[in-house]
Amino acid sequence: MLDNKYDVVVIGAGPGGSVAARNVARAGYKTLLLEKRERIGYPVRCGEASTNLEDLQTYGPISEDCIETIINGLYIYGPNGVNIEVPKPGTGIMLDREKFDPWLAKLAADDGAEVVTAARAEYVGDVETAGNDGYRKVRVVLGKGNGSGSVTAESTQEILAKMVIAADGVESRIGRMVGLDSIQKPGLTCTGIDFHVKGMLTRPDYLTFWQGHDFINDGYIWSFPKQKSNMTKFGAGFLIPHKNENIFDVTMEWLNKLFPGAEIDHVVGGVIPVSSTLKDYTLDRFALVGDAAHHTNPLTGGGIAAAMRAGRFCAQTVVEGFKNDNLSKQFLKTYEKRCYDYFGKTHDFEYKFRKFLLEMNKEDQIGLYKVLQGFALSGYKKSAFLKTPIQTAKYLYKFAKFKG
């Protein structure tokens, strides 16, 4: 049984939702965190690679248990054998989301948020009552899990929330319910599959990618090592819709081609928004966080760190809003601005770069990979571009002209 009134209701206990809930709860606001699944973090639907630990740790120390691997570099197999090695100690980490997501939700609970699983927000209404007494109605279906993930509805309850934060992931239903354009659109959405393969397939402290016309052009193939589990996540993703191919079959074909005899332990899948951040994702007493707001990197598909950062910015802005008696859309735009300045600008750039890369013919793509290879070999000295001035200028000019 839930209470009837909350200051903040957060929908979705992924990294974005849990961080947002924790940060409003610890500021003293009455917070409810709803998760429609029985078990937070399960099943995983993610590549589990994340940005460097230092950036994540600005949130607070990340539990050792959740970290699988410290990543020390990237290796990219490009078109026509033009490969790029990017040594960069500590450039990222591999997480175990089955541990990480519940751990984050527990932090929220420890700091005072009420965390309820097997609870689905079925409906979020418009703002009722003007001014400081305003609220949104949230209809919640409370269920009971059977221990293996199936949930049976048991009761429905209507609660009042002064502020609703929807971090409902790729499903993005709640935003659409209240009139935001948060749907995942064809051409701007990626579908992916991830085989957990026993042992290490590629260098155990590197993220390895295969990209370009020789592999998958409108996406990429990856091999991400989970050292603690002694497993490699071998996967691939491409944009939807795709020429009658299924990402599962395509990934399986590449696994057999690149690593014949690989032994698959289990398979996970997922869908990623790659449109770059939504233009509009706040309303009066409402905000989207994470995948629901398309807070994912449109080039890499990464979104854990951005969702957590957005959760913090959202909570910060909402707390300021409560203090100023102002949770209007206009005020909450500060949250959007904070996200834009921190990662949104980069995501917009990466979005343009992805389109630029994907629309290239093979010959141009090889040329670009060569320029980037030279840059990587030089140890990221800008002077490296002077060795191939004409090529570099050509791509810079094309990119500047490219409308995206």
């Binding site: 899990g145 499903e171 899948g269 869908v271």
Partner: protein
């Protein structure tokens, strides 16, 4: 009659189909996909999105 058919044994419960459905005909509760056949227009976007081909638009008997 054509109908959206969901193969539970293949489904990875990633809920990607829910996010692309333009009619909000799909939802998940726990790990079970719920299809609202009154809303589904059989556009096939979810079938294109599903990473494992667990969703298909198939000819089924009226019964």
């Amino acid at each position: 009659m054509k109908k959206l058919v969901h193969d539970k044994s293949k489904c990875l419960r990633c809920a990607g189909c829910v996010g692309v459905c333009p009619k909000m005909a799909l939802d998940m509760f726990g790990l079970d996909l719920q299809i609202d056949y009154e809303k589904c227009v059989r556009c096939g976007l979810c079938t294109n999105t599903c990473p494992v081909g667990a969703l298909k638009i198939a000819e089924v008997d009226n019964a």
